[in-house]
């Protein structure tokens, strides 16, 4: 990592650390100051203890959720890329499929999850399928925009050199489309995590979402809070990494 990147990362980490400290402080003060009973809002320290006690459970459940989300995202990226490229090669296919894409663009998890469960049953594959579908369309839409954005002059240049359509794709359009891919990943990333957790609610399969539900039912407040905080933290980390990736990609464009 270059010197300036390192400084930037340190600075951001410090900001995050400071924000966390403030958050914990307010939390502690609020609970004690407002006299909130422990079964409603536990003290930060108790939650920390719960994390320490149950770290294995938390980590393993988080692992399930993350793998479902990650695999789902990977699948949808591959699918979306294939579809986007074929759309860009074949204009009429794109136009015919456009209405379908538009209709399904904002498929809510609530509609997709039960259907997926019918198909895939109760396992982790349902979560994966839900994530794939929910993140497919944002990535596709962004990729299509990216492939269409290729620089006119570059395309003409390659054409003059006698490049085949595939070469044009590889040398020019795909690099131009990469930033858009990362935008799509950013949009899809956080909803992927949430989609995976919501699927776990409905299927009862292992994962952080299920842990949250169960600890809620068992009234294990500290564990519940620990799981919730962990899920929020994971969502934030996913958002930051995809945003950072996007910004990195954007550095060499003038968008």
């Amino acid at each position: 990592m270059s010197q300036e990147t390192r400084k930037l990362v340190v600075k951001q980490l410090m900001q995050v650390g400071f924000g966390l400290a403030v958050f914990v402080a307010i939390w502690q003060l609020a609970v004690i100051g407002l006299g909130i009973p422990k079964y409603l809002v536990p003290l930060p320290l108790d939650v920390a203890k719960a994390i320490q006690l149950h770290w294995l459970v938390l980590a393993s459940q988080a692992g399930f959720t993350l793998s479902a989300a990650g695999l789902g995202l990977a699948t949808s990226t591959v699918l979306a890329t294939a579809v986007a490229i074929s759309f860009s090669m074949n204009r009429s296919l794109a136009q015919a499929s456009l209405p379908v894409v538009l209709v399904f663009r904002s498929t809510p998890v609530a509609a997709v999850a039960p259907i997926m469960m019918l198909i895939f049953g109760r396992g982790i594959s349902t979560s994966m399928a839900v994530v794939t579908i929910v993140s497919f369309f944002p990535i596709l839409v962004n990729l299509m925009r990216g492939l269409a954005s290729g620089d006119r002059n570059t395309a003409e240049l390659l054409h003059v050199y006698g490049a085949s359509r595939w070469q044009q794709l590889r040398l020019a359009r795909i690099p131009f489309a990469l930033p858009y891919l990362f935008t799509g990943l950013r949009v899809a990333g956080s909803s992927a995590i949430l989609g995976a957790m919501l699927s776990e609610w409905i299927t009862g399969s292992k994962g952080l979402g299920n842990l949250i539900l169960e600890s809620g039912e068992m009234r294990e407040t500290e564990l519940l809070w620990a799981a919730v905080l962990l899920s929020v933290a994971i969502a934030l980390v996913v958002f930051w990494t995809t945003s950072a990736g996007e910004k990195r990609m954007l550095r060499w464009t003038n968008r």
Binding site: L40, L118, L198, W225
Partner: protein
């Protein structure tokens, strides 16, 4: 002019409607020919479900509908009040907007179990979550709307010696309407989806509960029915506001809310 408008709307919706009917007919034929996989039911089976037990449909649709509506209404009141405050007092503008953003970003995953702890099980959880998921578009829409009148129009009111109340009535409120409707239109499906998802965390009545029950008993037709009801309910909320918007905001058809 009103009749011409509805005629063209009818014509515009005819094509997708026809496509939908054809699609259903094809599905029906495919199922009869045993071509479709097991998890896709025949459309007739779904319709049969409704026919056999209309009461079931209604007794699940109704609770979800009123829970979503209550949450939506609460969110509307809070959003409008907060937005009005934000627009009148410059110091509050940033904080109120940011609170809206934060509430919007906290996922249902986190809020539902915590609310279950705090409020106890019952419809109040779904109402609360419907409110939380639908507040943001209404907040943004109202804030944008109240600031929509441009400086030249305000100058016009000044030149005409209009009182503050008159400026509100003749300028500020009409110019806010397109944005208000845009926000409220988007918020409606959010409230419905929030309520249904919240029902997954524990509810004994409602479309989400029906969905869970159908899933556990592997009742394919009922699952698809519940998905259908979800989409219908969300679409109805949106369509309701869109229809009113068509009538009230007759001078514009292109409002985009800026996030």
């Amino acid at each position: 002019m009103a009749s011409a408008l509805s005629l063209s709307t009818l014509q515009a919706s005819l094509r997708p409607l026809a496509t939908g009917v054809i699609l259903l007919a094809v599905m029906e034929a495919a199922k009869r020919a045993n071509v479709l996989p097991i998890f896709v039911p025949a459309p007739s089976a779904v319709l049969l479900e409704i026919w056999n037990s209309p009461r079931l449909v209604v007794s699940n649709l109704a609770p979800t509908a009123w829970k979503a509506a209550s949450g939506y209404f609460i969110a509307a009141v809070v959003a409008i009040t907060a937005a009005s405050l934000a627009v009148s007092l410059r110091a509050l503008r940033g904080p109120i907007y940011n609170i809206g953003v934060m509430i919007n970003s906290v996922p249902i995953i986190a809020t539902a179990p915590l609310l279950a702890l705090w409020l106890g099980t019952g419809p109040q959880i779904q109402i609360a979550i419907a409110a939380l998921t639908s507040q943001f578009p209404m907040l943004v829409g109202t804030m944008q709307g109240l600031q929509a009148a441009d400086s030249r129009q305000r100058e016009l009111m000044h030149v005409l010696s209009a009182s503050r109340l008159q400026t509100l009535r003749y300028l500020l409120i009409p110019s806010a309407l397109p944005y208000l409707f845009a926000g409220f239109k988007i918020a409606a499906p959010s409230a419905v989806l929030g309520a249904i998802t919240a029902e997954w965390a524990g509810a004994d009545q409602g479309v989400g509960a029906m969905m869970l029950y159908a899933l556990f008993s592997y009742d394919t037709a009922k699952v698809w029915l519940s998905v259908l009801l979800t989409c219908l309910l969300a679409g109805a909320g949106f369509g309701f506001w869109a229809a009113i918007e068509r009538m009230v905001v007759y001078w514009r058809h292109d409002v985009d809310l800026v996030d």
